[in-house]
Homo-oligomer: 327 residues x 2
């Protein structure tokens, strides 16, 4: 049966990098692509950043590839993560030969809790002076993430058999304490080694020596900030893919945004989206095709052609064709 992939280019360079990934996916498999809208542009046209139709498509598709959204990013991506019941956001942050990186030895994977923490959406304006946000942490979500992390390191996906839990349980004793304890309990039950680090200390140490870490399991906002930090160490957001994984479905997206400064010029770097497509292929069980795409992108990063963000003058099109010729 031909698998269905929903593609949502969204705004800005999303309109350039998602079609590039569709071309590549088309080369390595037989898929039915269904295009859907989300983001600033469709909001301007219809009043809604995330049309119900898009939500429903994503909620029933085998996999979704999302580009980027502008001002409306949170209105689009947070509900879409729910649409696929995504409990983990997988964010590899790796430096590649041929790409200028502050720390070329970086090779990390963040496994970010994707449903709760400060993202739970409970905010209140209690007075003219005071607002609150209720941060939620449950054992169930923490344990579900930990099970995934254990499987991830058991499969040795990033070359390590243990993981690090990053948290701020010295201040958020009850909530991050619960998170840490639940994650470590699951790991102990399964015989997986863990260590732990405070999220602030992680920020210092990962700059000083990223090889101290490998797979990093963390609450939602910690994962957001620390993975973006890792992006800074490997040369920018242009290279980071991500997967929002649920029990059945998943949504893949580059970590970068719409890049309004270069949108429309046809020079956006498609690498992060192509790496996201490789993760999508693996999610569909097409491991060989996934690895094939990943190696082809890595080879092009090393040998060129390169888009302007990497110091070259190639177009998105040039890079995509070069990747396809390497498949």
């Amino acid at each position: 049966m031909t698998e269905q992939i929903v593609v949502i280019p969204g705004d800005g360079i999303g309109q350039e990098v998602v079609p590039a990934a569709v071309r590549v996916l088309d080369e390595v498999g037989e898929f039915e692509f269904v295009e859907a809208e989300a983001g600033d542009q469709v909001k301007a046209e219809t009043g809604e950043a995330l049309p119900q139709e898009t939500y429903d498509l994503v909620a029933s598709a085998d996999a979704t590839l999302f580009g980027a959204a502008g001002e409306t990013a949170a209105d689009v991506i947070l509900p879409l993560r729910k649409a696929v019941d995504s409990f983990v956001n997988v964010r590899p942050a790796k430096a590649y030969p041929g790409v200028d990186a502050l720390r070329p030895e970086t090779n990390l994977v963040f496994l970010r809790e994707n449903t709760e923490g400060v993202y739970s959406g409970h905010e209140n304006r209690l007075s003219d002076d005071l607002s609150t946000l209720t941060r939620v942490v449950t054992d169930s979500a923490s344990r579900r993430l930990a099970e995934y992390a254990c499987e991830f390191v058991e499969a040795n996906e990033n070359g390590s058999e243990e993981f690090t839990v990053a948290h701020k349980a010295n201040v958020m004793r009850e909530t991050d304490g619960r998170f840490r304890d639940a994650v470590v309990d699951v790991a102990n039950e399964r015989g997986v080694d863990t260590d732990e680090v405070l999220m602030d200390a992680f920020a210092t140490h990962v700059c000083l020596d990223p090889t101290r870490f490998d797979v990093v399991v963390c609450p939602n906002l910690a994962g957001d900030v620390l993975s973006d930090l890792a992006a800074g160490l490997v040369g920018g957001l242009g290279l980071l893919p991500s997967a929002n994984v649920g029990p059945e479905r998943a949504l893949f997206e580059p970590v970068h945004g719409t890049a309004p400064d270069i949108a429309g010029e046809g020079v956006a770097n498609p690498a992060a989206t192509l790496f996201s497509a490789a993760m999508l292929l693996e999610h569909l069980g097409e491991n060989e095709a996934g690895e094939n795409v990943r190696s082809a992108v890595e080879a092009v990063l090393e040998d060129g052609p390169r888009t302007p963000d990497l110091g070259g003058d190639a177009s998105t099109e040039d890079v995509t064709s070069a990747v396809i010729s390497r498949l």
Copy 2:
């Protein structure tokens, strides 16, 4: 009148670097030093990490110099910040000639909100599965911080006349939205320019180009993590001083911890504590003495002697004597 400075060496290398700073302070002024206890060691002896006597001393002294505390760090430092009614944590993160830094061009000052956010201390275990933390943001605390930030840039303390607000208002719309709006309102009222950045984007951008930023105003946890990230860019926590400033009193502390791996060996780098002492002098109005200490420490960082963390083999004592000879 001789001003009173409470000194709390605390645990680990706090016992080495605080006496070093006292020696230096003694060289440049007439102070009455009152030593007080806090941390793991006094907890082991008395059951209390922060004796009431210490709290009371800090709450009435002109200024306090704190070293570090181990496991009990949060039990010590969070109440002590309250003891001085500290509404802002000032954290300069600067690279120095002679010190290996990932980004030698870094020169940032974080002005971290120091009373609320996730540090408000409201956590609840609502069920066996679920815990919550109530994050609090008020206009009053945000505006108070903003007033300080405006004065800071008006005095051109870090060479800039504007500041950046870092936040996560795209997700924490009500709370960080309130923070951002209150801070920007105050700046507008006073004619101070601001720009804003999402805290995750900040983490990427500061790695790629720290010169994009200068003075960074942020909520409590954001300031914690982002300033530690900046520490990673300038060569580690060993160099970062900080000031917890209240309306009348203030508490100064190196950003680093107790460094159990080297504690007791007499080789701890006193630079962060000496820079903290320089900030303390300025807080007491001794601007010349403060600048004198700061330049002397910078000169020693550049020319040596250096402690092992900076690649040398000098002792804390050697470095302190070298600083004193430069005063």
